[in-house]
């Protein structure tokens, strides 16, 4: 006869009653809290485990139980999970920074020649401004010698106010001559010292002369404001002035991107591979924003190389990031296959079971061992 405790499937009893089979102590149902004292113990058919069923709510209660684990187990689990998340965030950060480094390196290499060209163009312009100031000085002195009415521009103490196309000369006490001229809205001051050396200041900013490398010439803001756009037009396309040796960095970039693709593919087993592609994509966007903002124009006293970087970065960074993206995607789609191959190669069959998720995640079966 079938009792209430026994389930029936297709009219057949599935739970087998056990001999001497009653709960003889107070035991609360885990579903509703009902006291299971006196309930009948049966054996479930699948594993043959002893169970009882709550008469109130029908919840199955296992008779064989294990001691409750310490709270510390859960705490340690939470801590390990948090550490794992932090590690993943750290790897994401490191991956981003590696790509920033690659991009920055490529931009530096790419702008090497252009930096020199900009430095030279700036130097020519500074020399022109200096020469123009000196010419105006000569012209002003000639005019004053001829008795023209230049007293209004040159005061009695030698100092004066420069006006357009007119220079003001100041003789200071250190045997140096200062000439200030205004031309096209640019105020150029040339100081000629007793030893014949000169230094030029344009719109208040010192125009540093050649210091060994034109790339490290400090570009005056006046040049940026007045000449920069004309210079870019004269280049007839920036791409032709980029040093293509930056392409050498495609090699390390592709290796790093491929390795990172494999890493993300294997680590993010919970996600589909096409979703994992978001990781390198986000990295690329972050790096692009970072690199472009890092190489922005119009900060005071930029070097010629830095000005060149601002021109090169928008052209070179997308190329490097494109290569990075392609190889990362290849890594993502091959990563799990590579990981499975490595596991098969390195681990004996018995040890592979613990990593069987690499197969089961993609709906595959763990390969059966081949007898030697």
């Amino acid at each position: 006869m079938q009792t209430d405790d026994e389930q029936s499937v297709n009219g057949q009893s599935t739970n087998v009653p056990m001999r001497d089979d009653q709960i003889r102590a107070d035991r609360a149902c885990i579903g509703c809290g009902f006291n299971l004292f006196g309930q009948r113990v049966t054996k479930e058919p699948h594993y043959g485990l002893a169970i009882t069923r709550c008469p109130e709510c029908g919840e199955v209660a296992a008779i064989q139980t294990y001691p409750t684990m310490s709270h510390w187990v859960n705490r340690v689990r939470v801590i390990l999970t948090a550490v794992w998340v932090v590690v993943l965030v750290g790897v994401f950060f490191a991956n981003t920074m590696a790509m920033v480094g690659m991009c920055a390196g490529a931009i530096e290499i790419g702008s090497d020649e252009l930096g020199d060209e900009i430095g030279i163009a700036h130097q020519v312009w500074v020399d022109t401004q200096t020469q123009r100031a000196l010419d105006l000085q000569n012209q002003t002195q000639n005019e004053s010698a001829e008795g023209d009415a230049v007293e209004d521009s040159v005061a009695e103490d030698g100092a004066g106010v420069a006006t357009p196309d007119r220079a003001a000369v100041l003789n200071d006490t250190n045997n140096s001559t200062s000439v200030t001229s205004v031309s096209d809205g640019i105020t150029t001051t040339v100081v000629t010292r007793a030893d014949g050396t000169t230094s030029t200041t344009i719109n208040g900013a010192a125009a540093v002369t050649y210091t060994g490398s034109y790339s490290y010439t400090s570009i005056t803001p006046a040049w940026i404001e007045n000449e920069y756009e004309h210079y870019i037009e004269s280049l007839d396309g920036v791409w032709g002035h980029i040093d293509r040796q930056f392409m050498i960095l495609f090699l390390p970039t592709s290796v790093i991107a491929f390795a990172s693709g494999i890493f993300w593919s294997v680590v993010l087993l919970g996600a589909r591979r096409r979703n994992v592609v978001w990781i390198p994509l986000v990295i690329s966007i972050v790096v692009l924003g970072f690199v472009i903002s890092m190489n922005s124009l119009y900060t005071p006293n930029q070097w010629a190389g830095e000005v060149a970087n601002t021109l090169v970065a928008p052209r070179v960074a997308p190329l490097i990031l494109g290569v990075q993206l392609v190889f990362a995607i290849i890594g993502i789609f091959l990563g799990r296959k590579i990981a499975r191959f490595v596991v098969l190669l390195t681990l004996p069959p018995r040890s592979r079971v613990s990593l069987s998720i690499l197969w089961t995640r993609d709906g595959l079966e763990l390969p059966k061992p081949v007898m030697k």
Binding site: R244, M247, T346, K372
Partner: protein, 171 residues
């Protein structure tokens, strides 16, 4: 375990790369010929030491590889070692050629120093010789592997007996 085995394999591949370069230094004559005898009987202690070390290390690498890939056939272990070793040994040449290829696409002059073809052929010959020594080293590796296997089996036998005893006591 996976990482340990990968790192060990990579380490041995790198050592083999170093041994190939060392072999070129000590076993080749200035004319690019191979002299396998003189370094072993040379009065120069360094040369003699390096010659013997090359042989012993190669055999040792084979031995360790056999144990490392004990669960596979011997040839699998040999391939797992020699492919990365070959890659490392030719890395300078491969990188140089890759940069040359990029230079063609990018229209720039490559300034990388690439080993000459003669140099690479010489390295290839020594790589082949060392590979043979590695394969020879796999023979004593079999004995070493059996010792490890026996030790592991004994350990598991002890554990099994202990578990059986506990189980009997519980019953």
């Amino acid at each position: 375990m996976v990482l340990i085995k990968i790192f060990t394999t990579v380490l041995m591949s790198l050592i083999m790369w170093g041994l190939v370069n060392l072999s070129v230094d000590i076993f080749s004559t200035p004319r690019g010929l191979i002299d396998l005898w003189t370094p072993f009987v040379s009065t120069d202690v360094d040369s003699t030491f390096q010659a013997f070390a090359t042989v012993f290390l190669s055999v040792g690498i084979g031995c360790v590889t056999r144990v490392l890939y004990w669960h596979h056939r011997a040839w699998v272990g040999a391939v797992a070692l020699l492919i990365p070793a070959g890659f490392f040994a030719s890395s300078e040449f491969l990188t140089g050629q890759a940069v040359n290829l990029l230079a063609v696409f990018g229209d720039f002059q490559s300034t990388m120093d690439i080993p000459s073809k003669g140099e690479m052929i010489l390295r290839g010959k020594f790589f082949g010789m060392l590979s043979v020594l590695v394969l020879v080293g796999m023979v004593p590796g079999v004995f070493l592997g059996r010792v490890v296997e026996t030790g592991t089996a004994r350990k598991f036998r002890k554990i099994r007996k202990r578990l059986q005893r506990r189980s009997a006591n519980a019953n």
